[in-house]
């Protein structure tokens, strides 16, 4: 080899195309914004229909989750996400997609080792670490009381 690993890294950097931020950022902003705006419309609708604030919030989540799982099953969510990027990843719909996609994909490995286990591929760490963080906050809060 005629270069060091460091020089190779430089070559790699100079040859690797960068993400086009001027394209990805507006797309993510719009995609995420639209999903949240839909959420807001639903929230206002459910409130108008007489649901209490907390129940209405849950109903919004469940509606968005249903839409996302449906789009995932139809093979459309990943096509939206190719453009939406973080705009489709960060909302609750992205979380639902991260559970539904492996559930569909690993159906071939059966209900236990396939669907049941692989659903948590991405959702697992999200639930684990946010729960642990919340427990830690609970302990601190109980101490301070």
């Amino acid at each position: 080899m005629n270069v060091t690993k460091k020089e190779y890294e430089e070559l790699n950097k100079s040859r690797s195309p960068k993400s086009k931020l001027q394209k990805t950022l507006p797309k993510a902003f719009v995609a995420g914004g639209v999903i949240c705006a839909i959420g807001q419309c639903l929230l206002m609708l459910y409130r108008y229909l007489g649901l209490e604030e907390e129940t209405a919030g849950l109903a919004v989540s469940v509606t968005l989750i249903t839409l996302s799982v449906l789009l995932t099953g139809l093979g459309l969510y990943d096509k939206l996400a190719k453009h939406g990027g973080a705009g489709t990843l960060v909302p609750i719909t992205g979380f639902a997609n991260s559970v539904a996609a492996p559930a569909l994909e690993f159906k071939t490995e059966g209900y236990i080792a396939g669907i049941g286990a692989k659903m948590f591929l991405i959702a697992g760490p999200v639930i684990v670490y946010s729960t642990v963080a919340a427990v830690a906050y609970g302990v601190v809060y109980a101490l301070m009381k």
Binding site: V3, S16, P17, A81, A86
Partner: protein
């Protein structure tokens, strides 16, 4: 057959690629090589109910077509060297299960086609039989679920990422006197340049391609200008650039004769494959659908085929290991020159 320096071999009596066949998925058959494949699937699942079976079906169809073209019964095939990207090479195993042919499983990641061809050539050159087949496949969906994410998951691919080809290629090596000929081969060394980004395979493998090309040229006393084509597979945009830069530092310019299977299989802009194609089947299918026919009819005269592989597993990537690369070379000619 003679061993040269490094891992190079010279076949004093050239071998013949007596038949070859290729298969591709719908996306691959929608690219620049559209219509050149012996079998083109209309849907990625190829009528099967698991992605692994879909990949096996590529192997079955390609091998079946190749021996049909060579007018051989499976029992007349002396050895089959074959591999794919799946764990324990199950794509190949299940695809060849019913043929009852002597099977030698090969793993060289995306370099498997060159590795299998080199091994088949060595066997035939040693007089061990009349027909040895080399087969390699990959499938986008079976590779995605093993190495990355479920197909329906909405993750964004980075600009350096490459698209695993749904494709396969098979070549039958015989001691005949008909083009295309195999005149030499070089087994590469494992070359790790410290690249850790598994979404930048081209960069992880370019160092290995440099090592193998340099070794092959030096062992065979040749220069890039002696070739019509130096075909790497699959470095993509990033790896091809790095390879040219590395050779340029040695004062070797390959830009006039170099191309890459990952750049030939897809229309990079229209098909949205980012840095190009990859996967073991990519170089196998490009070789068998495009390059070997051109050598056969004399449109190309001398080709150095350098298939590159990234020897990592999903597990070593999670453990933070860098990605070792490998490249194996095969030299093809359209005429025997003495």
């Amino acid at each position: 057959m003679k061993k040269l320096s490094g891992g190079s071999i010279w076949f004093e009596t050239p071998l013949s690629v007596s038949a070859f066949a290729s298969a591709a998925g719908p996306k691959e058959n929608d690219g620049p090589l559209s219509g050149k494949f012996d079998f083109a699937a209309e849907e990625p699942c190829i009528g099967e109910d698991s992605w692994e079976k879909s990949e096996s079906s590529l192997i079955t169809k390609t091998f079946g077509k190749a021996i049909e073209k060579a007018r051989l019964a499976p029992s007349e095939v002396d050895f089959v060297f074959a591999g794919d990207l799946l764990n324990q090479c199950v794509g190949t195993v299940f695809g060849l299960r019913d043929f009852k042919v002597p099977f030698i499983g090969v793993y060289g990641a995306c370099s498997t086609m060159a590795e299998s061809l080199a091994l088949a050539s060595v066997f035939i050159s040693s007089g061990l039989g009349q027909n040895a087949a080399a087969i390699t496949s990959s499938h986008f969906c079976s590779a995605e679920r093993q190495f990355r994410m479920p197909v329906n998951y909405g993750g964004q691919r980075t600009p350096t990422s490459q698209w695993t080809a749904t494709a396969a290629g098979c070549a039958v090596v015989s001691p005949k006197a008909q083009p295309p000929y195999i005149t030499g081969a070089t087994f590469g060394t494992i070359t790790d340049m410290g690249v850790k980004d598994s979404a930048n395979m081209g960069a992880a493998m370019a160092g290995a391609a440099y090592e193998t090309i340099t070794a092959h040229l030096s062992a065979h006393g040749t220069h890039p200008r002696d070739y019509d084509l130096i075909l790497t597979g699959d470095l993509g945009v990033v790896g091809s650039g790095i390879l040219r830069d590395l050779l340029h530092k040695d004062g070797v310019d390959i830009s006039n004769v170099h191309n890459d299977c990952g750049l030939l299989l897809y229309d990079l802009e229209r098909q949205d494959v980012h840095a190009g194609g990859s996967g073991a089947g990519c170089s196998a299918a490009v070789l068998c659908a495009d390059i070997l026919p051109k050598l056969q009819c004399g449109e190309l005269h001398r080709v150095l085929f350098v298939a590159t592989g990234a020897l990592m597993s999903a597990m070593t990537a999670q453990q933070g290991e860098s990605i070792p690369g490998i490249a194996h070379a095969i030299e093809f000619t359209s005429k025997v020159t003495n």
